[in-house]
């Protein structure tokens, strides 16, 4: 991905006045473009760029010759801010990374600090965390499916339907941690508050309502001939490329690679539950969409088991309020809804704030596949492929 250099671009445009589209020239097309082609800027303000993605597309008619994603429009300097905050003050900041799965961001950071401290987490807290993370995965995939419908031109219908159920999960989150989007719920050594009294019943109710609805989405989208026409065999990513190019999460599993950090790292207590890794068949947009749908089912399975076996006990280990972890560094990774979310945390042992906090965001890795996937496709396919990668810009631009 190229951060464009506007001065150089301007100079080039002045030097070559016969450039086809001087104001759209960029680092990849420094001397203009071939006859009969044009450069189209899709975004950062565009209905289907999932936030503030800018795609610089070289077109020949409707055919996409090459595409360059340009990012950075939502950069807030998260990693630098984190260096100037106490350890605990970073938690609410992580909420703003991937705003569709704040719980996972909380988790990866909290996990990193816990590994640095070497804290033992109470069992109940582990269960609560798993319940929250998996509910978050469902909520995030619901949003992804809904947005995907929009990307394919469905007049908001899929989105209305999926958001209706996502809302139920957000209600659950609200009852647990008081917020619907920016939870700030996980704490070093556990969770901030215990589950409210009637949580189990309410969660079971929500899951029971969710199950038939997921089948309904599948009927609504997967049995729609036009949806199949638009997604099958589009943006095919073969397993070798997926691994070599660093795809993660549903994109990697959509290509048929059976890997999931929840299993390979077995962090928290995922190994206690009976579930399996969902993989797609063909590595096309439809497979990635199918992974979302089936992962939601697996998550429901995990949450149900966790609710059944939720033990009593403390929900927070004794951890000092003002942390000063020992010097050292950790690399913590979890499976966020978008893939492998990692944090590299360095403590110098003297300060109450992290020395360095680096985030490896899954959406960024997946988005970097776009130039590879969207070669020689039509504009409509470009949008379909972008949507199937499910980028979230809070996380990509940080």
């Amino acid at each position: 991905m190229i951060q464009e250099d506007s001065d150089r671009k301007l100079a080039l445009a002045r030097a070559r006045p016969n450039c086809f589209a001087p104001t759209f020239g960029s680092a990849i097309f420094p001397c203009g473009i071939a006859e009969g082609r044009m450069i189209l800027n899709i975004g950062p303000q565009h209905p289907s760029t999932h936030g503030v993605l800018r795609l610089q597309v070289e077109l020949e008619g409707e055919r996409v010759i090459s595409v360059t994603p340009i990012i950075g429009y939502l950069h807030r300097g998260f990693e630098k801010i984190a260096e100037n905050r106490n350890y605990i003050q970073v938690i609410p900041l992580t909420d703003r990374l991937d705003y569709l799965s704040s719980m996972a961001n909380n988790m990866v950071y909290v996990k990193a600090v816990e590994e640095l401290l070497g804290v033992q987490i109470p069992e109940r807290a582990e269960y609560i965390r798993v319940i929250m993370l998996e509910l978050q995965r469902i909520a995030s995939h619901l949003a992804a499916v809904g947005f995907y419908g929009n990307d394919l031109g469905l007049a908001f219908t899929a989105m209305m339907y999926t958001f209706r159920e996502r809302e139920l999960i957000l209600d659950l989150f609200e009852s647990v941690c008081g917020a619907r989007l920016t939870y700030n719920y996980l704490r070093f050594g556990g969770v901030r508050e215990d589950l409210p009294g009637n949580f189990k019943e309410k969660a079971r109710e929500v899951l029971a309502r969710l199950k038939p609805k997921i089948d309904e989405y599948e009927r609504f989208l997967s049995e729609d001939e036009i949806f199949l026409m638009r997604t099958k065999d589009i943006g095919v990513l073969n397993p070798e490329d997926a691994i070599n190019m660093g795809a993660t999460g549903p994109v990697l599993r959509g290509s048929g690679v059976k890997t999931d950090t929840r299993i390979t790292d077995s962090y928290t207590i995922y190994d206690k539950f009976d579930w399996e890794i969902v993989t797609g068949k063909d590595g096309d947009c439809f497979s990635r969409y199918a992974v979302w749908i089936n992962e939601m089912r697996q998550s429901i399975k995990i949450v149900e088991q966790a609710l059944d076996t939720l033990p009593e006990g403390p929900y927070l280990a004794k951890v000092p309020k003002l942390l000063k972890p020992p010097a050292g560094e950790v690399y913590s990774r979890i499976e966020s809804p978008r893939g492998e979310l990692c944090m590299h945390l360095i403590s110098d042992g003297a300060a109450t704030n992290p020395y360095r906090l680096k985030i490896r965001s899954p959406a960024f890795c997946n988005l970097s596949l776009l130039p590879h996937l969207a070669k020689n496709v039509l504009i409509a396919d470009l949008i379909a492929i972008t949507g199937s990668l499910d980028p979230v810009f809070g996380e990509i631009d940080r």
Partner: protein, 319 residues
């Protein structure tokens, strides 16, 4: 006095324009409401009871909005496109019979006239796509042109079957010929072809490639704002009404029906077809341009030709 063709024409045009505009406002409101309910939400419900005044409010908004003409646009063409689109959209209604006598101009070649003037709509579309000097407009305009041109062929071919059965190009005669049996039964292939082609001509989901808001922002109307945008929007909507009317007149028995007066039957049927259009719009994603053209050239045109052959053969057999 009404026998004077000039007077009849002017009065008819005025009445039609007023009626269609009123119907338009109502239908747009209905569509928003109906799609809202299909999507499990209310739809407009703020302006007036059930949001019935929503279109009035939107109209005022569009009228009072700044009319922006892009700096590098071709001003004359840019301004002419919406006017032309709006005017051309009304032309076919002159030959549409609302009942046996309720027709502005009962011309012998009615259906031919309708096909001819409705295919003019591609001109303002190209104008609107090209003149603002915007790439999204251009792509949308090119798509719209490709769609309209390639789907006029199957539509016209499908109509030939009807004309063969009715033995006339006159719209009134075509409806009269359906007294015994509505043409969608003997012409089921032609009917299917025509419905799909009409859907495409109306440029609505799943065939709204010329707008394609998730791909081309707003397609060929991207740079238009205020009243000009409203006119383009209305023109598109009038095409939908026309397509529904044509489906009803050509295949669904026109004004034939028991008890109620003929014009009411025609409008009711048209309304039902409009509802179907809206229902489909709320349900399906958009097809891709190459798929759309493939459907047109590789499926619909052969099917329409087959339909003509079958109809001709049947006529030969039955005398």
């Amino acid at each position: 006095m009404m026998e004077n063709p000039l007077v009849k024409g002017i009065v008819g045009a005025a009445v039609l324009a007023a009626l269609i505009s009123a119907a338009l406002l109502f239908l747009i409101w209905l569509e928003r409401k109906f799609i809202g309910r299909l999507q499990h939400r209310y739809g407009p419900n703020r302006a007036g009871k059930f949001g019935i005044l929503q279109m009035v409010v939107d109209g005022i908004k569009l009228l009072t909005k700044e009319d922006i003409i892009p700096e590098k646009a071709d001003r004359a063409v840019f301004t002419a496109a919406p006017i032309l689109a709006f005017a051309i959209a009304f032309l076919p209604f002159a030959a549409i019979p609302f009942s046996e006598s309720l027709v502005v101009s009962n011309i012998n070649i009615g259906i031919l006239y309708i096909l001819a003037v409705s295919s003019l709509a591609v001109v303002p579309t190209i104008m609107a796509g090209w003149s603002p000097n915007n790439k999204y407009n251009l792509l949308g305009g090119m798509r719209a042109a490709a769609m309209m041109i390639s789907y006029e062929v199957p539509a016209a071919l499908a109509i030939i079957g009807v004309v063969m059965l009715a033995g006339s190009l006159n719209m009134v005669e075509i409806v009269k010929a359906q007294e015994k049996i509505w043409f969608f039964i003997p012409q089921i292939i032609g009917f299917s072809v025509f419905v799909v082609a009409a859907f495409v001509e109306t440029a609505r989901l799943p065939f709204d490639l010329s707008e394609a808001e998730s791909e081309l922002v707003q397609g060929w109307t991207t740079e238009y704002s205020g009243m000009k945008f409203a006119m383009l929007l209305f023109a598109e909507y009038i095409h939908s009404i026309l397509a529904s009317l044509l489906i009803v007149i050509l295949f669904l028995g026109g004004w034939h029906g028991p008890v109620l007066p003929p014009a009411v039957w025609l409008l009711l049927k048209t309304f039902a077809v409009m509802l179907l259009l809206m229902w489909v719009r709320a349900t399906v994603p958009r097809v891709r341009i190459n798929q759309l053209l493939n459907i047109g050239w590789k499926i619909l045109i052969p099917a329409a030709l087959l339909n003509i052959a079958l109809t001709g053969y049947a006529r030969l057999l039955l005398g």
